[in-house]
């Protein structure tokens, strides 16, 4: 028996689905009234509602939170400072073990070229992440941040996911708060929400046994928020978790957010299995949009939901704008991790604007904390 009800009409009841249909209507009424969804209402909507009913509820909520017909995106570039990693997560096609011949640590020259390109293309920030490198001292990261901040004071530095922070805290035997404080001091502006995968201890033990636990991930974020560092939160789903674990993840994020209000956005995407050590077929677009819509509905305290064209392609990402997403993610001038898993979509800035326009919204380039950049880019369509 599948967890999910098979597709059915949004309008009529069919025999055995009568009870389900009534349950969905009841949960939908709660969502439509803007009430907080409890676990049971979320389960009913996620498992049993038809895709259009979910879309309509999620889009209505998006319009309550963001009434303007605007879709935002950020101009940034993913820079992976190193692919050396001791985690060896089974879903990852990007990392190389420390003794591998393809290992790299980025040079200042390379970094400089990438930042200049980003700024030349109208980008405002870099997303800096890497593997868990066993040999680099914390000072290496502090020096890098200081150099970036001094060289390009206008550049927003969105860097280091919670697993990296936690790894350094353990490795250098200092507190998570201390790591964060030192990095912030050196120039860190905000944290990306990567490495969350599925925030469930058992599932993480299966797919990323050497990485921080769900609790530790959430603790790093809570500490960051306390220090005034804003962060995003992500979810990578469709590997070895069950549908219920995805809901666990959403509720865990919501609980932290109730205390800190530090998450700017939630970004779910589907696992891309090529070249990894997890053999499952990738989830199709309807499964992605179903989860996206439920994310919008459950995470009533997270202001923004991003669609993921990097994994789902521009067309599905466009449709996602009717399933709760109000943000198109990033211009993504460079991306390596998903590309390593065999998926490489490319979108120019003009493409992003066309896709957003065709969906009936106005594209606005934003900063990490969702302020419109000024002036807006001049895009010829």
């Amino acid at each position: 028996m599948s967890t999910f009800s098979p597709a059915h009409s949004p309008f009529v009841m069919h025999g055995e689905q009568d009870k389900d249909f009534a349950d969905v209507r009841e949960a939908a009424a709660l969502a439509a009234a803007g009430q907080r969804l409890d676990r049971s209402a979320a389960e009913i909507l996620y498992y049993k509602a038809d895709l259009h009913t979910l879309a309509q509820l999620a889009h209505a909520m998006r319009l309550r939170l963001h009434p303007d017909p605007v879709v935002t995106y950020v101009g940034d570039r993913n820079i992976n400072y190193s692919n050396v990693c001791v985690c060896a997560c089974r879903f990852c096609a990007f990392f190389r073990a420390p003794d591998h011949e393809d290992c790299y640590v980025i040079s200042r020259d390379e970094m400089s070229r990438k930042v200049e390109e980003t700024l030349a293309l109208g980008g405002t920030q870099i997303l800096l992440q890497g593997g868990h490198h066993p040999d680099l001292p914390l000072e290496w990261y502090e020096d890098l941040l200081r150099w970036l901040r001094q060289t390009w004071p206008q550049l927003h530095i969105h860097a280091f996911s919670p697993p990296e922070i936690f790894f350094w805290a353990e490795k250098f035997d200092i507190s998570v708060a201390e790591v964060l404080r030192r990095l912030k001091e050196a120039g860190l502006h905000s944290l990306p929400g990567g490495g969350a995968e599925i925030l469930h201890t058992g599932i993480r033990a299966q797919v990323s046994p050497n990485k921080c636990t769900a609790e530790q991930w959430l603790d790093v974020m809570e500490e960051a928020h306390k220090l005034g560092l804003r962060t995003t939160a992500t979810m990578m789903f469709g590997h070895e978790e069950k549908a219920s674990h995805r809901l666990d993840h959403l509720f865990a994020v919501r609980e932290v957010q109730d205390r800190t209000h530090g998450f700017t956005a939630f970004i779910p995407w589907t696992f891309q299995p090529a070249h990894t050590r997890i053999e499952v077929p990738p989830l199709p677009a309807p499964a992605y949009l179903r989860l996206l819509a439920v994310s919008r509905l459950v995470l009533d305290n997270v202001p923004n939901i991003q669609s993921s064209w990097v994994t789902m392609g521009p067309q599905v990402a466009q449709l996602a704008l009717f399933y709760g997403a109000n943000d198109f993610g990033s211009l993504m001038i460079e991306e390596n991790v998903v590309a390593a898993a065999g998926v490489s979509y490319h979108m120019s800035r003009a493409d992003i604007h066309k896709v957003i326009h065709a969906a009936g919204f106005t594209p606005i380039q934003r900063t990490m904390d969702y302020r419109a950049v000024d002036p807006q880019p001049d895009v010829k369509l």
Partner: protein, 380 residues
Amino acid sequence: MLDAAYYAALGLSSIHEKVLSGQRLSFEDGLALFHCPDVTAVGALALHVRCRLHGHKAFYVVNRQINYTNVCVNGCTFCAFRRDEENEAGAFALSLDDVLDRLRDADSTPLHLDELHIVGGCHPTRPLAWFEDMIRAVRHFNPNLPVKAFTAVEIEHFSRLEGISTLEVLRRLQAAGLVMMPGGGAEIFDEELRPQICPHKADATAWLRISGEAHSLGIKTNCTMLYGHLETYEHRIDHLCRLREQQDKSGGFTCFIPLPFLTENSRLKLPEDKVGPQRGLDQLRTVAVSRLMLDNIPHLKAYWIMMGHKLAPLALWYGADDLDGTIIEERIGHMAGAQSAQGMTIAELEHVIRASGFTPVRRNATFNTLNDTDSPEARQ
């Protein structure tokens, strides 16, 4: 909530009522659906109709496509597949042995084809007798394999080449073993627009007449619409209405397949604002409106070769009930720039359908369901 009040607010009350009570939609209804900015609301109506017809089933077929030649006298402006002559770069024309070799490879265990799909260009010299021989050879190779071949455009071409009526062409091909015709070549029917994209091809009247003739002989056919080029929403609705009219008369259309125009390698150049990745919504909307307008055609195909493997499963929620199939080798869409793979496995098709919320059902060329007892072993 997707209820009567919701549709009233969108100005779609009467359409909502008509769809729920199974009444026919008008030309104006179709236009209103194309103009509705809320793609979810339109999709929900199409889902309702699709579920009324097929429940949560989604069909697929284990098939092999063979494009026998791309040498073609028609010179359609949108086509990236065709070549004028056999000695031109990129031109090909398969021999009878080539066709049988491909068939042998594809029909070998464990695949066991349930449909052979054969279409090609309108070759300037190849006689009808060659095609009769081809079908007989295929039937001889596997008498249980339904042969779906030749669009109405090819039938008209054979008739011109041989100096006989299209009905006679159809009779001869049927006698050779043809059971089903694919629906290509319909493009867009409008008399002003059609000459701009396919000036030498069978016109709308001929295309529809030939389909009707096939139906009268008991040959089922599919039908298509090529959209996303120079046409307006009015042209699309006109096209759908003409198919619906023909179906009222002859009743032999089994499946409608909307085909998004692929711009990549086409000589037909569109303005910059019509080219790009922004047309996904339009594709889903077109699937949905087609499902709602074509109330007398049972099936609607989300042809993954043209829609792409990301969007096609979504179309199942927007009115489609069929994903086509394994294909194995496709050349027309790919020469036009299709980014999809050349084929899908049975396991991939079934996974995509299940994980999208539907129940996979294997069918043959004429949409007869093949359940577990129809496994290759059981059929032998």
